[in-house]
Symmetry: C2
Subunit: 202 residues, 2 copies
C-alpha cells in the first residue's frame, strides 16, 4: 500500500464490488458507475416488464419520489432566480407590462430534474432556454402567489438570495394592489427590480 | 382593485404589517424588508444585551443552527464541484501530483453561508477565491474520505453531478491503492478527470 491511510469509507463505495452483489436497498448503489437506478429517491429498483431478474421482485412503474423541501430550498439557493421583467407594451394603460418570474435554469442533461421541480411546485413549465440550457419557469401572479411564495415563506432561503425574494414579494404585493397599472407604480417597481439579482454568484 | 384576484398568501407576507406586529416565531418574518433575523435557522430572534424589547425574552447568543442535510445536498447539486487537479511536481516519483478537491464557490455576500457549510462538514477551509468570490474547499484524501464522501453516499445528489461524484470516488479509491504514484495510474486518473465537470450548467 503506497497510498495514505484512510478509514473504511472508500471501501464501502467500491464500484466493482457493488456490481457483483447488487441489493435494492443498498446505501451505496448511487455511487455505481453510470447507474441510472435512482435508489436515492426511495423507489424500488427500475425494471421493465421484460426484466429477467429475480421473479419474486415486483414490477413497479418508474416513478421517482417527490423532491423534499430541504433539497428544493438548497437547490434554489444555488440555482434559482427571482426576476421582475418590465417590457414596453402598447396595450397597457401605462405603456409597460410588469412580468414577475421565478426560474431555475440547468444544462439539458438535468431536464428531468427541472420536471421534478415543476411537479414539486405543481405549476410552471419546463422549456428550452437557449443553447443547451433548459428552464423551469413560473410566471403569472396567481401561480407565484399560490405556489412559489408560500413555499419559500415556509422554507426560507439561507443565502442572500432571500433579499431578492423579499423584493420579489414586495413587487407581487404592489401588483396585487394594481400599482403596476400606473406610471408611478411602474417607476417604483423599476427601482426595486433594478436592485435585485446583483452581487449574485454569477 | 385593479389587480388580478389571488388568494390570501400575499397578504400574509405584507412587510409593513409584519413590522407592526413582530412575533419571534412568525412564519413570515423571513420576508421582512432587509431583515437579518435568521428565524429560518431555528434560533431565537437575534438581540444584543442592549435590546429594549420584551423583558421576558431571554438574551441568547447569535448561533445559527446547523444546516440540514437536504438543504446541503440541494445546494451542492447546484453550486458544488468535485474536481481532480493534476499538476506537474518534480518531487513526485511519477512527476505529477494528483489533487482531489471539493469546492463550493459563492459571491462574498454569502461567505457566512460557506462557513456554515464548513462547520456542517467539520473540515475544509473558507478562503478568497478570485475577485469578489469566496470558496469553501476540502482537499486531502483523509477529509474527503472521512467527511465528504460518506455524506454524499448517504444523501445522494439528485442532479447529473452525481456522475462527477462517482468519478471522484473512483479516483479517491485509486489514490487509496497508490495508483497516483505510478505513471500508468496517473494516466488513468487523467482520463477520468478529463470527463468530469463537462455539460455542467455553467
Amino acid at each position: 500500500m503506497n497510498g495514505p491511510k484512510v478509514n473504511q469509507t472508500l471501501a464501502l463505495v467500491k464500484l466493482d464490488h457493488m456490481r457483483e452483489t447488487p441489493r435494492t436497498a443498498d446505501l451505496y448503489s448511487s455511487a455505481q458507475a453510470g447507474s441510472k437506478n435512482q435508489t436515492d429517491m426511495g423507489t424500488i429498483r427500475r425494471e421493465g416488464p421484460g426484466c429477467t431478474g429475480n421473479p419474486q421482485r415486483l414490477y413497479v412503474q418508474d416513478l421517482p419520489a417527490k423532491l423534499d423541501a430541504g433539497w428544493v430550498t438548497g437547490f434554489v439557493d444555488g440555482e434559482g432566480c427571482f426576476h421582475i421583467g418590465i417590457n414596453k407594451h402598447a396595450e397597457m394603460r401605462c405603456g409597460y407590462q410588469v412580468l414577475p418570474e421565478f426560474t431555475v435554469v440547468q444544462h439539458e442533461r438535468d431536464v428531468e430534474l427541472l420536471q421534478r421541480i415543476r411537479d414539486f411546485f405543481s405549476c410552471g413549465v419546463v422549456r428550452t432556454n437557449h443553447g443547451d440550457r433548459w428552464a423551469y419557469r413560473v410566471r403569472g401572479l396567481k401561480d407565484l402567489a399560490n405556489h412559489i411564495v408560500p413555499f419559500f415563506v415556509m422554507h426560507p432561503l439561507k443565502s442572500e438570495k432571500r433579499v431578492d425574494f423579499e423584493d420579489f414579494c414586495r413587487v407581487l404585493r404592489m401588483m396585487e394592489a394594481g400599482d403596476h397599472l400606473t406610471v408611478e407604480g411602474v417607476s417604483r417597481i423599476r427601482d426595486i427590480a433594478a436592485r435585485m439579482n446583483r452581487g449574485r454568484s454569477r
